[in-house]
């Protein structure tokens, strides 16, 4: 075995590779190992495997709406098309996640234990969306500090005592609240739409239409997005997550009819 002095990562011998080291399908130059290399760091997973794309959220008159599509991508391929990326956490909060689906599942399991322990007190006190948002921030930030992040961008929305809450946490623990939020590609494609078209006290219909508009743009432009979406509606009365449904895209744009006419040299 050749163990060179630590230079930020070194190659193991061939036989070693057979036993301990695997190459990820993401073709990164760093192998992932279960065994810490002497003199080197423990290399936890540094890249995600099955990922979800954007999550969008906005506040409306009666509560909070959160939307996401149901795609789970495996690198560049759309491997899973019925992934639930919106989960009800308690009777007044919903969590949506961009990024690694398995980390999202670990988070929902963790939150489930948290909510159940809280409910077992049965003393009239309950964790609200604000509490859960801050809890998640602590979790994400602490993982980041250990160089072993949960590879997600999270959107948490809820209503408690008439107060509507919508917040976001990134994989490095950056957190904030706002009237409308997006993660992933939504930051670049959906947020500008929200910024120009969102207004206070929209009706449920207006909110839904705005989300669908943004989701459609994402379907056109984000290659990891698919045309199957879910919208979660949180009000003081509770949480309703819709069944997945399809948006109606338009493809008969003039530029598509004779695509190569506008682009000489193409085939």
């Amino acid at each position: 075995m050749r163990w060179e002095s630590y230079n930020g990562g070194h190659e193991a011998s061939e036989e070693e590779k057979q036993v301990y080291v695997g190459r990820s399908l993401m073709a990164s130059s760093r192998p992932f190992t279960l065994m810490p290399t002497p003199g080197g760091p423990i290399t936890h997973t540094q890249h995600p495997y099955v990922t979800g794309t954007s999550v969008l959220g906005l506040k409306y008159k009666d509560g909070v709406l959160i939307a996401a599509d149901t795609a789970g991508s495996y690198g560049s391929t759309t491997r899973y098309k019925s992934v639930e990326r919106l989960k009800q956490i308690s009777n007044n909060t919903v969590l949506g996640a961009t990024g690694e689906i398995s980390d999202f599942q670990a988070l929902t399991q963790l939150l489930d234990r948290l909510i159940v322990t809280d409910a077992m007190w049965d003393d009239g006190n309950n964790l609200g969306p604000l509490d859960i948002h801050n809890f998640l921030t602590r979790v994400m930030y602490n993982r980041r500090n250990k160089f072993d992040p949960l590879w997600n961008s999270l959107i948490l929305g809820g209503v408690k005592n008439g107060v509507k809450y919508l917040g976001s946490v990134s994989m490095i623990g950056v957190h904030f609240v706002d009237q409308h939020i997006a993660t992933g590609f939504g930051i670049h494609l959906a947020q500008p739409i929200f910024r120009s078209e969102w207004k206070e006290n929209m009706t449920l219909e207006e909110g839904r239409k705005l989300l669908e508009k943004a989701l459609l743009v994402l379907f056109y432009r984000d290659r990891s997005a698919i045309n199957k979406i879910q919208i979660a509606n949180i009000t003081e009365d509770g949480v309703r997550i819709s069944q997945p449904y399809a948006l109606k895209p338009t493809w008969n744009f003039k530029a598509f009819k004779n695509p190569s006419s506008a682009t000489p040299g193409t085939w």
Binding site: D123, N125, L130
Partner: protein, 282 residues
Amino acid sequence: MFRNQYDTDVTTWSPAGRLHQVEYAMEAVKQGSAAIGLRSRTHVVLATVNKASSELSAHQKKLFKIDDHIGIAMAGLTADGRVLSRYMRSECINHNFVYESPFPVGRLVVQVADKAQVCTQRSWKRPYGVGLLVAGLDETGPHLYQNCPSGNYSEFMAFAIGSRSQAAKTYLERKFESFMDCSKEELVRHALHAVKESLQEEDLSSANCGVAIVGIGEPFVILDPKTLQAYIESLEGGKDDQQVKVEAEEERPAAIIERQGTAGGGGVGVGAEGEGPTDMET
């Protein structure tokens, strides 16, 4: 109670099914000077009888702020009480850091009770010698709890612990049905009346008692001597509610009390406090 052969260890049961060491610990609470608590729909008031160990010393601190929405009054070994209050503050601040919201007082009380119980079941420990009256808020409103050295806790509308607390309890039992709808000022007056019962011969003054209030929308605050004196005077009918309120508002920035000197004729060390060492008890 009398000495017997089963009271050396906290982990030894008596044939009658009692843990004598735990009972002796509760005796220490009964020897401490009184602490009183009472609550309404919107506020909780804590009051203490303050005793100075000598004419030269300052009064023992028996009222502690745990968080903006929780405070305690203690009776018994105040040193043990300080340790518990440090624990409670730590728990509150940790909860606030993780959840950015106030720790429900009922859950904190249970944690303290569990901590006290541990000391009743380890041969190398001794029970805490302090009783706490915990006043605080949670989502369901204001609450008053008592924590015992035995590890028991219970919620109360009004309660008193410590020496001569029975006199205060008698007053509270007479009046408690009206507490729910009391205003803050009325509640403080009731508390001071109860303290008066515990003091018996002595005159009530801002030097020999302490009062703290917590309420919905109002953080826990220990009244400063001036505001306290105004309340005391209002008991005799000298000032009315409005006057007391005005003076209270003037004093609000200086919420932390600075107790200097001793009670002027406050009857320090008077009465049957028991023969215990004065530097441990209050």
